[in-house]
Symmetry: C2
């Protein structure tokens, strides 16, 4: 395989909005050194629509709750979280409780699933 790195970047289009996809295809079609991928072709990069699941304002989580949430997503137990944040287990449980509340979750597993779904955390 010769590495013609200066030639032909292959871009795939994965956009739901047909109008936007159309305009992009038109604009990018006329660019030298760049090509749109054929259906099924292996592309070097993909253009996706702006993920719409980010915005429910935030659900207003406090900084500390975000800290706890992140560690929960790592699979950390309350004890581990307490140690890592330098606080007591009781406080961790307090924050976890608030999280379950705000995220409408029935347990910590449900909480990280919900949070990931709405883009609050990146797992």
């Amino acid at each position: 395989m010769s590495e013609d790195k200066t030639h032909e970047i292959v871009l795939a289009l994965e956009i739901d909005d047909p109008a936007l996809a159309d305009r992009l295809a038109m604009l990018l079609g006329g660019v030298a050194g760049l090509r749109l991928a054929a259906p099924g072709e292996q592309a070097s990069a993909v253009i996706v629509g702006r993920d719409p699941r980010v915005m429910p304002d935030d659900i207003a989580l406090t900084q500390r709750e975000l800290d706890v949430l992140a560690l929960m997503a790592e699979g950390a137990s309350n004890k581990m979280i307490a140690r890592r944040l330098g606080i007591s287990v009781h406080t961790v449980k307090f924050h976890v409780g608030s999280l379950l509340d705000k995220l409408d979750a029935t347990g910590r597993t449900d909480a990280v699933a919900h949070a990931a779904r709405r883009g609050v955390i990146e797992l």
Copy 2:
């Protein structure tokens, strides 16, 4: 604000490979009707690198384990899973144990996080 929908598609670049990102920025910079997003700016579409996290063969989960995993991701307790699958809580715990094992997880929360990360489940 006039809605010049025929003007200026804003593209964000989220590519790990610096060389590729560079070339894309250069190529796209000279295209009329198209602009690269400023850091933090809301873009109408995003260009991402080919997602490499799909392939670990599967980690070979049995059908039953997938059933249990799916319900775990819903935040279901062992008791709920048992009821839904028509099996005993002991059996559920057995399958959960296998899951923790195969997914290298320390707990059920960690398990669904890992599974979601490697595309085994879609949360």
